[in-house]
Symmetry: C2
Subunit: 202 residues, 2 copies
């Protein structure tokens, strides 16, 4: 039995991450999404427990200050708290599933210190194209769009810390790339910290 | 422009390597096969310059002793000489193509010392299954089959030196795995010897 893998997917808002991830999960067995906790209000269409665990600021702090700390990583983004529950991820990996986390750059680098995740970044072809996509979406205010673009600019500077970079220029190719990365990592002869190979067979 | 990649594919005789590689090359653009030199006689159906460059033992030695040495790697297998021409591989990589070599374990480890190839091993589900496949093929003598099985046993010990291991249990899945590894490596943020990331975008 090969070891299970923790994937982290990051992307600026509007890069197409959610669409790509949904398509890949629909065709790839053995991959589960770990649902994050957040203090931000739910958006229309979002389902609690599926898209996020929606919690109050107080509830979030209680998990965070648990023994051991209840989050693998947490961060404040756009004024809201987001966190990845440690227990849920560990339970999924031990159950023989690969786990994928949808978290931002700060969070990804925190998890990298604690575990050995595979980091995947999805980038838009350009910031200009990202801006058009955010405007076409038509759900956000001018201020929010400007904040998201500023954050994208900052996040793109961290792509060299990632293992893989997918440019979402043509959607079908980006979907194929993400799916291929997951299949390939399952075939990878992974190295344990002491340099010995561990199971990685497909 | 991302840097081009040198892939090496190894497998024991009868593991299905040739079938898998042909199927993948038929669907994946930008990947070329580098044709090896060999002193072994051609088999029915093999085409000179497509399957191998068939050369005499003297011709082989002349290339090998060139300045610089004309082979990236060479080895004696089953009593015949096999070698990978350096100039052909370098020309293909510089022309913007990813190159795939079909060479044995000894050769793969030689190339690994000189370049930074991605090593992929295709293994049969078991030695028993490999034996049945070789017998079903019906083209080889009992002695040859025994020699191939003994070599397979030796080669399988080296799979931990490979980056990826594909078990060819179900052919369609093995084809998908090889294709995925190549697509994923194209998205990989590769590390140069000094630890700096180099282009790897898909």
């Amino acid at each position: 039995m090969r070891e299970t893998i923790l994937f982290i997917l990051s992307a600026p808002s509007g890069a197409g991450k959610t669409t790509i991830l949904k398509k890949v999960m629909a065709v790839l067995p053995g991959l589960v999404f770990s649902v994050s906790h957040t203090t931000r209000p739910s958006r229309p269409g979002e389902v609690a427990g599926r898209d996020y665990h929606f919690v109050s600021r107080e509830g979030f702090q209680a998990i965070r200050e648990g023994t051991p700390p209840g989050f693998l990583e947490w961060a404040e983004v756009h004024g809201n708290l987001y966190g990845t529950g440690r227990a849920e991820v560990e339970r999924q990996l031990q159950a023989g599933q690969d786990v994928i986390l949808d978290i931002d750059v700060q969070g990804a680098l925190q998890v990298q210190k604690a575990a050995a995740p595979v980091l995947i970044f999805i980038a838009p072809p350009s910031l200009t194209e990202l801006e058009s996509r955010l405007r076409r979406r038509g759900t956000e205010s001018e201020d929010t769009i400007r904040l998201r673009l500023e954050n994208a600019r900052k996040e793109l500077k961290f792509t060299d810390r990632y293992d893989y970079l997918i440019i979402n220029d043509r959607l079908e190719e980006a979907i194929d790339s993400l799916r291929s990365i997951i299949v390939a990592e399952r075939c990878r002869r992974r190295r344990s910290p002491d340099g010995l190979p561990v199971a990685g067979i497909c």
